[in-house]
C-alpha cells in the first residue's frame, strides 16, 4: 500500500464545492507535484490532508491509518507535515525555538520533571537542541539560530518553515508554493535543497507550485486540478503536452 492514499475527497464551502472527487496516491520517497489555476483548490487539498478542514466526504489513509476527522496536531504524529502558502512562523520566537517547538512530540519529559529540572529535562533538551542545530545547518541557517524569526529575510523564512516541518519527523512533507516570491536563482537553489532533504530524510514530498521550472524540474509525477477536479495526472512530459492543462493552466 502507498504511503498516502486519498480517495474521492470532497469539500463544500456553503454552496461552493471547492474540491471534488480528488484522489491521489503517493509512495514512500516519491516527489509529487500538485498544480492548477488559482482557486483550483490546491491549498484546500492540503488543508484537508492536514486536518485543518474536515472534508465533506472521502477517505485519507496515511501509512495505513485513516486520518479523516483527526485534529491537525494528531495528524502530525501520523507523519504528515506542511508549510503554508502565506508564511506562518512563530515570528517573535528565535529561529531555534521555532524548530524546537516542532520537536515537541519527540520529547517526553513531563511538567514536574521540567519544573524541577530533573536529568530527563537536561538530557532531552540537549538532544532537541543538537537536532535543531543540525537541521538549521542543512539550510545554511546555523548563524541565524538566535535571531527572531520575523527578522529573517523572506527567503530564509521560507526555509525555516521547511526546517520546522522537518523537525516533526514526517514521512510526508507538503510544501505550499515554497518558491513564491523568489527569483529564478533562488528558486534553483531551493530545488536543490528539496532534492537533498528528500534523500537525506527519506521522505515523500507533495509540492504545490506555480513556478514551472521548479515543478517540471524535480517532480516525478504531477496531478493537475481545475475547479476542484483532477484534469490530468502524469509525468512532466505528459503534463506539458496535455491540451486541457495548456488551456486551463499553462497557456501557450
Amino acid at each position: 500500500m502507498a504511503l498516502l492514499e486519498v480517495k474521492d475527497l470532497k469539500i463544500k464551502f456553503g454552496g461552493l464545492t471547492a474540491v471534488d472527487e480528488f484522489s491521489i496516491s503517493i509512495e514512500k520517497n516519491e516527489l509529487v507535484g500538485l498544480i492548477g489555476p488559482n482557486g483550483a483548490g490546491k491549498t484546500t487539498v492540503f488543508n484537508m490532508l492536514t486536518g485543518v478542514y474536515l472534508p465533506t466526504s472521502g477517505t485519507i489513509t496515511l501509512d495505513g491509518q485513516d486520518i479523516v476527522g483527526k485534529r491537525p496536531y494528531d495528524i502530525v504524529s501520523y507523519g504528515a507535515a506542511r508549510t503554508f502558502q502565506n508564511i506562518r512562523l512563530f515570528k517573535d520566537l528565535t529561529v531555534i525555538d521555532n524548530v524546537k517547538i516542532a520537536y515537541h512530540k519527540q520529547m517526553k519529559y513531563n511538567m514536574i520533571e521540567g519544573i524541577f529540572r530533573l536529568p530527563s529535562y537536561w538530557k532531552e533538551e540537549k538532544i532537541a537542541n543538537d537536532y535543531a542545530i543540525e537541521l538549521l545547518d542543512i539550510f545554511d541557517m546555523k548563524p541565524y539560530a538566535d535571531s527572531l524569526a520575523k527578522n529573517l529575510p523572506y527567503g530564509k523564512q521560507r526555509k525555516l518553515e521547511i526546517a520546522r516541518a522537518l523537525a516533526t519527523g514526517p514521512k510526508i512533507l507538503m510544501l505550499d508554493e515554497p518558491a513564491a516570491g523568489m527569483n529564478p536563482q533562488e528558486t534553483k537553489e531551493l530545488m536543490e535543497t528539496i532534492d537533498l532533504i528528500r534523500n537525506k530524510f527519506n521522505i515523500a514530498i507533495l509540492l504545490i507550485e506555480h513556478d514551472m521550472s521548479l515543478v517540471m524540474g524535480i517532480c516525478e509525477k504531477i496531478t493537475v486540478i481545475d475547479y476542484g477536479k483532477i484534469i490530468c495526472v502524469g509525468n512532466p512530459e505528459q503534463i506539458k503536452c496535455d491540451p486541457n492543462v495548456i488551456k486551463a493552466y499553462l497557456g501557450e
Partner: protein, 290 residues
C-alpha cells in the same frame, strides 16, 4: 398581564443599551478597539445635558449641545490617546482605553463631585395607560430613537461614500490610504458619530433614571458592549437586537428570579450564545482561510 408589563419595563432599559451599543459597535467595527471609555463619554454627555438643562436651555438645545460636545470629546480622546497606539499591540490600546475611562471618571468626580445630581425634568414623565398596563412616554421615545438611529446608521455605513470609506479603513488601513482616503479624518468621524450616540444614550438614561453621576457610565457601558457582542460585534442591527435581548433578560430576571442574579444570568447567556455561535447572533462564522 404582569409579564407583559415586565416586558415593557425591559424595553426601556433595552432601548438605552441599544443606543449606547450602536456607537460601541461602530467604533469597534472600524478600529477593532473595545473603547472602554465609551461609557464615560456617555456619562460626560449626560453631564453636558444636565448643565444645559440647568441653564434653562430648550430641549432641542440640550440634546444638540450635549451631542456636539461629546462628539468633540470623542474625537479628542481618539487623537490624544488612541492614535499614537494604532500600530501597538491590541492589548496596549485596550489598557489605554481602560485608563481613559478611569481618567474621565475621575475628572468628572473632580469637577462635579461624587454625589449624584438630579436631572431636571426636560421631558415630563407621562405614562400611557392601557388597561392595567403602563408605558412611559420616555420608554416610547427611547425605543423610537434607537430604531431610527439603527436604520440611519445602517444606511450611512453601507451606502454613503464616507460610510464605505470607514469600512475600507476597517478592512485594510494601508490599502485605504492608497485609495486616497484620509484615514485620520475617517477614524475621527467614526468617533464623532459613536460619541454623539453615546451622549444620546446618556441623555435618555438621565431622563429615564433622573440622576447623573461620575460612575454612571461604567455599567451601562459594559452592558452595551455585552449587547454588541451578543448581537455580533461590528454589526449595526446586531447591537440593537443585543440591546433589546439584554433588556428583556435583565428585567425578567429581576422580576421572576432575583435582581442579585441578573448580572450573572446576563453574562451566563452571553457565554452560552458565544459557545454556540462564537461570533454572536448576527455574526457570520468566517473560517480563517489558511
Amino acid at each position: 398581564m404582569l409579564l407583559i408589563q415586565q416586558l415593557i419595563n425591559g424595553l426601556q432599559v433595552g432601548s438605552i443599551y441599544a443606543v449606547i451599543a450602536l456607537g460601541y459597535t461602530m467604533v469597534y467595527g472600524i478600529i477593532k478597539l473595545i473603547n472602554f471609555a465609551h461609557g464615560e463619554v456617555m456619562m460626560m454627555g449626560a453631564y453636558f445635558a444636565f448643565l444645559a438643562a440647568v441653564a434653562g436651555m430648550p430641549i432641542w438645545a440640550v440634546f444638540l449641545i450635549s451631542m456636539v460636545l461629546s462628539a468633540i470629546l470623542g474625537m479628542v480622546i481618539e487623537r490624544v490617546a488612541y492614535k499614537p497606539l494604532r500600530s501597538a499591540p491590541r492589548i496596549s490600546s485596550l489598557i489605554t482605553a481602560i485608563a481613559m475611562s478611569l481618567f474621565l471618571q475621575n475628572l468628572a468626580l473632580f469637577i462635579f463631585k461624587a454625589d449624584p445630581k438630579v436631572m431636571p425634568t426636560i421631558i415630563k414623565n407621562n405614562p400611557v395607560t392601557i388597561g392595567s398596563l403602563q408605558i412611559s412616554n420616555i420608554t416610547i421615545i427611547t425605543f423610537l430613537v434607537s430604531v431610527v438611529f439603527m436604520v440611519i446608521l445602517t444606511i450611512f455605513i453601507s451606502k454613503t461614500k464616507s460610510g464605505k470609506a470607514m469600512r475600507a479603513v476597517s478592512q485594510d488601513t494601508e490599502a485605504a490610504m492608497l485609495m486616497g482616503i484620509n484615514v485620520n479624518s475617517t477614524i475621527s468621524l467614526t468617533f464623532a458619530i459613536g460619541s454623539a450616540l453615546a451622549a444620546l444614550g446618556g441623555i435618555l438614561y438621565a431622563i429615564a433614571y433622573t440622576q447623573v453621576m461620575p460612575t454612571m457610565g461604567l455599567l451601562p457601558g459594559l452592558k452595551a458592549f455585552v449587547a454588541a457582542v451578543l448581537g455580533g460585534i461590528g454589526i449595526i442591527p446586531g447591537a440593537m437586537i443585543g440591546g433589546f435581548i439584554l433588556g428583556f433578560i435583565e428585567t425578567l430576571t429581576k422580576a421572576y428570579i432575583s435582581s442579585r442574579w441578573a448580572d450573572a444570568i446576563v453574562f451566563g447567556i452571553l457565554i452560552v450564545v458565544l459557545s454556540v455561535k462564537p461570533t454572536g447572533i448576527l455574526g457570520k462564522n468566517i473560517r480563517e482561510k489558511v
